[in-house]
Symmetry: C2
Subunit: 179 residues, 2 copies
């Protein structure tokens, strides 16, 4: 889909960091005029709607510096270079929650902020969970707390803005629509 | 909610642009170690789940430079400084679709990419729509095409990845759960 395509006339790399980079492109608009587009590049991520045998949703609380608060989210993590999303999903579920799963289904992919970033999240549904005896380590700068909640508790957390990000809000709605 | 708080030791502004800015903070982790956090600041946005009298979902197709393709989304737009989200929602609905609405309800707010950005989207549901005779102008660098689709058509667009962003995927699921 290329409707209203904006061709780059020039692209300037402004910042290259650990997780994201930022470039500013001069683009040619469909009407022949020019504009600037600020674009954040991100490696992409996976997120997992993990449902326990008791029908509870597995969540993690963590501090999000960008928001200056902690929020409660579904388990998620960045794609490492060359890693298949299915593999990342299993790895992140294990690292963040201590759960393995016998049933992992791909659900869908969405872009989080198409107005300024290329980040996409690949969403998976994990069922038939089992506790891993020797839990894998988190990244050294990662601190999370595990929660397991019913659909009703999750909906309450959305209302209270404890669950506060797009992928997790989507997950709660998905659970409601598929219970 | 401040669990696992990360206090900034130093903050460096890397880029200040038209829509976003980027800073890199050195933070103190809960374990006493230090880490860097790359943070994109964004003014926030609104998005509107607009349902016509015929029960169709109002969508707009537009080119998203960050993704290098056009996608089909629910109407949305950035908050201007000091603007109330309700006002922005009415303005953007009018500008992008030519619809006014007699019934605008706040639904919820979510952060789009809490791992690296502070952008939040305030979601509204607009019903009792009417066509505006003198449609307001779009921004001069904005090109959109209007679509109105049934829930079934919207679900097909999600499968085909024509609808491909988080807020719009959420909107389709919300429509399914609330029909």
């Amino acid at each position: 889909m290329k409707k209203f395509e904006e061709k780059s006339l020039q692209s300037t790399l402004v910042y290259e960091g650990k997780i994201i980079s930022l470039k500013v492109d001069d683009v040619l608009l469909p009407n022949g005029k020019e504009a600037k587009r600020e674009i954040v590049n991100h490696p992409g991520a996976v997120a997992i709607i993990a449902i326990t045998k008791e029908g509870k949703l597995v969540l993690v609380e963590q501090y999000r510096k960008a928001l200056e608060r902690s929020i409660i989210e579904i388990p998620a993590g960045k794609l490492e270079p060359g890693e298949k999303p299915e593999y990342t999903a299993k790895r992140e579920l294990e690292e963040e929650t201590g759960y393995g799963c016998h049933d992992l289904q791909y659900l869908q992919t969405f872009a989080t902020s198409p107005g300024f970033a290329d980040e996409v999240i690949h969403l998976f549904v994990a069922k038939d969970l089992y506790k891993i005896e020797e839990k894998a380590d988190l990244d050294e700068d990662e601190f999370v707390e595990l929660l397991e909640v019913t659909l009703e508790e999750a909906e309450e957390m959305v209302k209270e803005q404890k669950i506060y990000d797009a992928k997790s809000a989507f997950a709660v709605l998905w659970m409601k629509a598929n219970q």
